[in-house]
Amino acid sequence: MQRMACSFPDEVLEHVFSFVQCDNDRNAISTVCKSWYKIERWSRRRVFVGNCYAISPGMVIRRFPELRSIELKGKPHFADFNLVPDGWGGYVAPWISAMAAAYPWLEEIRLKRMVITDENLELIAKSFKNFKVLVLSSCEGFSTEGLAAVAANCRNLRELDLRESEVEDLSGHWLSHFPDDYTSLVSLNIACLGCEVSFSALERLVGRCPNLRTLRLNRAVPLDKLANLLRRAPQLVELGTGAYSSELRPDVFSNLSGAFSGCKELKSLSGFWDVVPGYLPAVYPICCRLTTLNLSYATIQSPDLIKLVGQCQNLQRLWVLDYIEDAGLDAVAASCKGLRELRVFPSDPFGPEPNVLLTEQGLVSVSEGCPKLQSVLYFCRQMSNAALMTIARNRPNMTRFRLCIIEPGTPDYLTLQPLDVGFGAIVEHCKDLQRLSLSGLLTDRVFEYIGTYAKKLEMLSVAFAGESDLGLHHVLSGCENLRKLEIRDCPFGDKALLANAAKLETMRSLWMSSCSVTFGACKLLGQKMPRLNVEVIDERGPPDSRPERCPIEKLYIYRTVAGPRFDMPGFVWTIDEDSAMRLS
């Protein structure tokens, strides 16, 4: 074997490796032998770092000297729901500084849940001459000033995607900073911006970029301007409208309808804030081509939704509010036979009573009518074991199943039993399930099912469930492919955590908040497991100042080869040398 490997010149191996793009395969190649490791590291162009604290920028740069593309993720997922206090971390600054020096030819930066400042954006704009792609997903810390720097300096920019980031809106003029001779824009997503961008600058930009295929506007772009934009970019594949409301006027309507009809490549629609139902028929001509439809901001009622969705025979992905109701989902089940992904969001998540006729039945219908359905996110107020078992049997091809029953601890509404067997059926039948979110009344039994059957599960989200440490133990000891586990408000304590300490090194991260973990256990874990960072997040002051038995607020554990991080705020407590001595 060794002789075979050496008989190929490096250039040949490198050429062969260039056909291997998948990260896992590249990682595998690099472990074959030293010479393959060497060749692979010089030829790696793209790296994905799932936890920015798992490794240091220096280590990445030392190993991969010729990167063109990097993707980094920062805060844990529960930060999306305000469970991670401000200032926790996820700063991209050290990465940008290091890469500015090491990778002058860097082309792509993709960040998720990280903090990026205007200074960082300016450094990007100045340092990378061939910069092409900037994707900031759920990021924060920057303003429209930073965007202006990117627009002004990145002459080869293809993609600027601000996906759900929090941007400080100082002015809409940033868009005018794209030079007049700049024509390479392919994808622009500014849907999250609050301010009005200069509309004439936007029109000119759209008009001079012939390769533009994705344009997601923000709410401030009025409907009567949309037709003009569409006529300048009939080649668009993905469109996000601005506010979809205007006084009903036949001339505006026909102009809009004509503009939509002219977009023969349009496959994805989103936006639809403040929808005036009278304008929906303007998109009917293109519905048959749509593969993705995001109506999750559209506060329109079921009948209008049914008319729209009923024409989308080629739909693969549908995001919608629960205004669609069971009747609407029946229509989806009947019309959208190619549906792969369904997300139903709550229109009134904090109301005490249901405001729409959406129940478990809608999901059951879709699971029956859509044979390719594999990804579900569903908010509802009632569920039954029977429904879950039906869904499981209908859709053994399910890979992502996230169910949120709005009221914590809600039992099966028919039998008043916990929903253990229902979710058990999901994990038993859906053998390729990668992601699962639980809700409703659940005992330790559901975790026993998960540990027994969910062998391909990679991410599990648990809230208000379980009865004892046994629940957590089932999951940690049974789920062989578990990478991310996030838990809130469950009666899980020290025992399962300490008994499965080694498992934590095989996972990316574990989050536990409002559980029953003590600081003592965290200290022990931190001492015993040097390749884990055990972060206790507690805003009540030093955990040592409270009785041993008092549970900590939040715990975030992640594996790392970079050691403890240097940017921890005051409310993050970790094991350090001193307290280790004190303990003994």
Partner: protein, 200 residues
């Protein structure tokens, strides 16, 4: 039991009562697990563990938080349901008009050569608004009085036109109601305003 519950509901004792319900009480009401916790937790689940048999703990699990029952506005748990904040902002803006980012309206003053515009959203209440008007037009109003509104014998009085087109005295209704119904402001000469103030 039913009569007792009805009586309790009338007195609204349940809103203030602290008790742990025994398994079996109020089976028909789904109790929110989270209402006892607010943002900080004590040891509720530790008690849960020592609760005995699985069945017993299941029932008490559901009945555990039999504490806040009568109040219609439930205590909200942080981050639950797991809906991102940009999604929540979307509906609130639709259902509550007052969530609009600005509410510029015209302000005229009798005798002044031109009108001004102010953004009502910027002010938190009547005193702030009137102070701003006083500064803008260089006049003064007095304190609020039931009979004469913000007048109290000064030369000018602040009035506004509401949604129905009627001219009203500033200060009568709660601030939130005022900003959602006010379409324009007029600082009237005291002599003209007498009629308004004297109504009933």
């Amino acid at each position: 039991m039913e009569r007792c519950m009805a009586f309790d509901k009338e007195l609204n004792l349940e809103a203030t009562e602290l008790r742990l319900g025994l398994p079996g009480i109020k089976e028909s009401e789904k109790q929110p697990f989270s209402t006892i916790k607010s943002n900080k937790r004590a040891f509720p689940n530790m008690d849960e563990k020592s609760c005995g048999s699985k069945d017993g703990s299941k029932a008490s699990h559901a009945q555990k938080c039999n504490q806040e029952i009568a109040s219609p506005a439930k205590a909200q748990v942080v981050g639950w349901p797991p809906v991102r904040s940009y999604r929540k902002n979307c509906f609130q803006a639709k259902t509550m008009e007052s969530e609009a980012t600005s509410a510029y309206l015209k302000v005229s003053m009798d005798g002044a050569p031109y009108l001004r515009k102010i953004d009502l959203k910027v002010y938190k209440g009547y005193p702030e608004l009137l102070k701003a008007l006083e500064d803008m037009f260089k006049f003064s109003v007095g304190d609020y009085s039931e009979s004469e509104g913000y007048n109290n014998g000064s030369e000018f009085v602040a009035t506004y036109e509401d949604k129905d087109g009627d001219w009203m005295l500033v200060g009568d209704v709660p601030w939130d109601m005022f900003i959602s119904s006010c379409k324009r402001l007029r600082i009237m000469k005291g002599s003209e305003a007498r009629g308004l103030g004297c109504a009933v």
